[in-house]
Symmetry: C2
Subunit: 592 residues, 2 copies
């Protein structure tokens, strides 16, 4: 896509010096990410675009600009671009997300509204689109490609097919097809994915990829299928192979996954970095407030040994190219005037942030008003769970045996979402399974929360981390059903009812008492609160989780992938235990 000025003739006149420009930033050290040079310059901006760059000391006096800012020798760099982000993971609305990240110097994000699309489908997508109109930043959207992520093995709230892609592709701020997660589908040549890719290609959308651990022929096949970016590299060798095979490697530091170090380790010896960029993927409000956004990821890259200009280019120009945005990510005539003034190319703390030539933030403070707006979807309940009873949370077994061998999912590590399939011999009490005396085991229920379904998938998890009470969440990738990990049905029911009442969110219950509920009434995923307020609420929720035994750094992130049936080896869904590798359901009772 190309960003077009509204009045090209006026822009040309401003460039020629025939009319005053809107803005002149003089006396700065320009970081030119096209040549890799840094030199003194003065930058003219008119109606959102760079009109002219004058090198050296400012010579001419008239006509200048309506507003003149003296950079006093500070650096001027392009504003940052996030190549892949799920706004929903911040638990904020697009408007509140904008308020949080603009002061950090990110003025363009390429979002994948995949989470809300699993809840509300096209309506959810359109909410993210509509509510991000006319912001003092650029929110570009990719169309979610894998909704649901695993058809047939889980039930979510909506389906996106080639037809929906066709419907959404013409929207002006839609630029790509979002992470094609079903890489198995692609490399198997499945029609579902290839049809969606075909429509996206027909509309000129770029294809964002997602290929964790894929290598060798599988990676080649995926690239032949079309998607050619990946933000899922975690090992040095994986990153290098992807780069060599022409993939755009998005080095990610999210709230969950910090992969920049390993990726850089893998690629640092190559000569060209045109295909290297940065993304945040999922970053929570408090991490944004405390650490920053893309500036934090780029800074981390520099700490790992990246040359600052190469790192800045990777967070700006490379990102624009990867996302097929023509005139963004550099400071040159005809480019969108998104820029940052800062003093240190290593810490990357913005002094002033410009979006389209407008000063939008200064010293970490937003300077422009983003008025609150109400959208019907923000008030719509998406948590449709029926009249649950305690006994719904019991795993009944039709047997006369006193004990049975059951299939369970087990976590080898507390901070990794990878699981293994194991079995345990458990007692049967009053016709249902008992976990008495086994603090390493908890029950899991995945309660479908959508109108067309009323499934509850029940199972048992080992080494989840919590030991007592109940922990519930409607943030539960990717179908976002109500997922509850619990010691006893009573607490489970209370947690479920709590989230029914709040229209979604997270809740922790212990001994019949609600420790805390983080209400996320928008799609059961997002709060309407701003970053600061949300961070406080979120901190309380983490504390409540810790009270149940979950002591990892960010306990909120444990439950949210328990029902994500694309992470090996086994996961839960509303249909029960899922064998991720074999793509099939596993019965609770182990076959003899």
């Amino acid at each position: 896509m190309k960003l077009l000025p509204k009045n090209k003739k006026a822009l040309i006149k401003a460039a020629m010096g025939q009319i005053e420009s809107d803005l002149l930033i003089k006396n700065i050290q320009l970081v030119n990410v096209i040549t890799g040079e840094i030199y003194p310059a003065n930058v003219y901006v008119h109606e959102g675009f760079i009109a002219h760059v004058e090198e050296g000391e400012l010579k001419e006096e008239t006509p200048l600009a309506k507003k003149i800012i003296d950079g006093k020798g500070s650096y001027l760099i392009p504003a940052f671009i996030d190549t892949h982000v799920h706004i929903e993971s911040s638990m904020m609305t697009p408007r509140n997300f904008a308020k949080a990240i603009i002061p950090k110097g990110t003025t363009t994000i390429v979002t994948d509204p995949h989470e809300i699309a699993n809840v509300f489908g096209v309506r959810g997508f359109r909410y993210m689109y509509d509510s991000s109109e006319n912001l003092p930043m650029r929110q570009l959207l990719d169309i979610p490609s894998c909704v649901p992520s695993l058809p047939g093995l889980e039930n979510n709230g909506a389906t996106i097919t080639a037809k929906e892609v066709e419907e959404l592709a013409p929207l002006p701020r839609v630029i790509g097809l979002a992470e094609v997660m079903d890489y198995i589908g692609v490399i198997n040549g499945d029609d579902r994915m290839l049809d969606i890719i075909d429509v996206a290609e027909k509309h000129g959308l770029y294809l964002q990829g997602h290929a964790p651990y894929l290598s060798g022929r599988g990676l080649s096949a995926y690239l032949c299928g079309g998607p050619n970016t990946c933000h899922e590299s975690t090992t040095p060798g994986e990153a290098l192979e992807k780069l060599r095979k022409g993939m755009f490697v998005d080095a990610r530091n999210s709230s969950i996954a910090r992969n920049v170090k390993e990726i850089w380790e893998g690629v640092k010896e190559v000569k060209f970095f045109d295909h290297f960029s940065f993304c945040t993927d999922d970053r929570e409000a408090d991490d944004i407030l405390n650490d920053g956004h893309i500036n934090d990821v780029v800074r981390y890259g520099i700490e790992q040994g990246m040359d600052p200009v190469t790192a800045i280019k990777s967070g700006t120009l490379n990102s624009a190219r990867e996302s097929h945005i023509e005139n963004l990510g550099a400071i040159a005539p005809g480019y969108a005037a998104d820029m940052i003034i800062l003093d240190d190319l290593k810490t990357l703390i913005p002094k002033q942030v410009f979006f389209g030539g407008t000063l939008v933030a200064e010293n970490d403070q937003l300077l422009v008003d983003i008025p609150d707006k109400a959208y019907p979807l923000e008030q719509e309940n998406s948590v449709h769970i029926g009249d649950l009873k305690e006994e719904d949370f019991l795993i009944k077994v039709a047997t006369k045996e006193k004990e049975v061998e059951v299939n369970i999912l087990s976590y080898p590590l507390l901070d990794q979402p990878i699981t293994t399939l194991e079995s345990e011999i458990l007692p049967v009490v009053d016709g249902h399974l008992s976990l008495a005396g086994r603090s390493d085991l908890q029950f899991v229920a995945v309660v479908n929360r959508y109108e067309d379904h009323s499934n509850i998938g029940l199972g048992i998890v080992k080494n989840f981390g919590s030991h007592c009470g109940a922990l519930a969440s409607t943030v539960s990738h990717d179908s976002h059903n109500l997922t509850i990990v619990y010691e006893n049905p009573k607490d489970a029911l209370l947690a479920a009812l709590e989230l029914k009442k709040s229209h979604g969110g997270m809740s922790a219950v212990k001994d019949g008492e609600v420790l805390h509920t983080l209400a996320l009434p928008l799609a059961g995923l997002m709060s309407l609160k701003g970053a600061e307020e949300l961070a406080i609420d979120s901190a309380k929720m983490k504390e409540a989780n810790r009270a149940l035994g979950l002591t990892i750094k960010n306990p909120l992130l444990r439950i949210v992938t328990l029902a994500l049936p694309v992470i090996p080896d086994v996961k839960m869904s509303d249909l029960g235990l899922v064998d991720v590798l074999e793509k099939k359901l596993i019965p609770i009772l182990k076959e003899k």
Copy 2:
């Protein structure tokens, strides 16, 4: 644009190794222009695309490929791309041009059929499009943007407006708007150019630029207007400024203009070269046969000190990116399988050339058949000149004076097309100007050769180079009228009649005798002969030119810019002497 496989499922299967690939090139040193590395690899190709790249020694044995080529440790590089070329300047048809350049390793050219469009308009464009279908190379077309180049000051055969751009843009091999030469129009905000640019942008075409000597605010304004490439840099400072301002700098070595040395001198100290590429612009048959094509330009860049891998990237991947072609110019899965096997990264002499995985040339010999095809336009006469008489070539002056002061155009240098406006006092004999005894002066006639016009512009040129006889050409940029430089009307008429008979071309006449005529019957610009035969014919024509006194290296190129009213300071057109800078006609008699 993205190059799409016909059968993506088959390509994916080949990548997976589930079916045999069409081709395996094993045991090569892969020049990876994405990372800048060189390492041992094996490359699988299926149905025109790279299916898989296996690093190191070939491990697996089955299923392999229908055809296996052992690279024996030679280098494998992407095939070359020419970012800007006028096929007409080779005087060959698109099909014969293909035959000449494929053995040199160029498999993709971005052409500007600007010359034939000045003669035949859209019909000429469509001829170039149709006759380049289904070749064993990729001829992509940009739509000429400046036809005629200077409306109102010359008459050509056709006009291209926004309407014609709209008509041609949807053609599959049309990718851009060709060199926007009227940079004055752009930076003045003229509607003609901005309307054409708007239509091109609406259709997603990229905008090829042309901005000789443009700098400072003018260059910024031009970039704000949209075009962001330039192959017209001639000085080091110009090239550096363009690169810094985000322009794609095409370093050109044509038959006429060799600018690579100066351009490299200007940019060699920068850090990133993503915006640096190569082009030939205008290259004649014998230069292609003797020196090569883009491989020759890249080789020259390396001779100037460029790192070979950076230079190869500039002639492949960078060119594709500049031209908005997504999956071309690198050897990676999903990319078009255009490749060259060669032994020396400095001389760049192809051993084997592959287009879409098909071996199309080996050791400078074309291996595939490009059948001759006939097109109606090839037989259509475009030289419509009426019944000329000797006296048409006399410059009549209505005066009783014995001498008058006249405006003339003068060449300061023999090998440069730049001119100055001068005046001379000349005798009037029998009512017309006489040049008797002035071997530095010659008459010029520009005879309109199009059906709607019958103008003859007459003038006088100083230091053209020829001293006697008549030299005529229907290759006469950009309107391609019949231009004749002559000592006496008799020889001028003979030369004109000679070209009327041949339906265009070049002719040299002396003392009532035709020294040689190079027939160019296709649009008066191109021969139907192949490169070898044409080179012989062309050599004879050069010899004949030398007999008239034109002793420069390539005398054919002198006359062809005499009527090009975009090169300062003055030029001729069928309307008379043109002031290029002031954009107005100049009377022959100097005002007193």
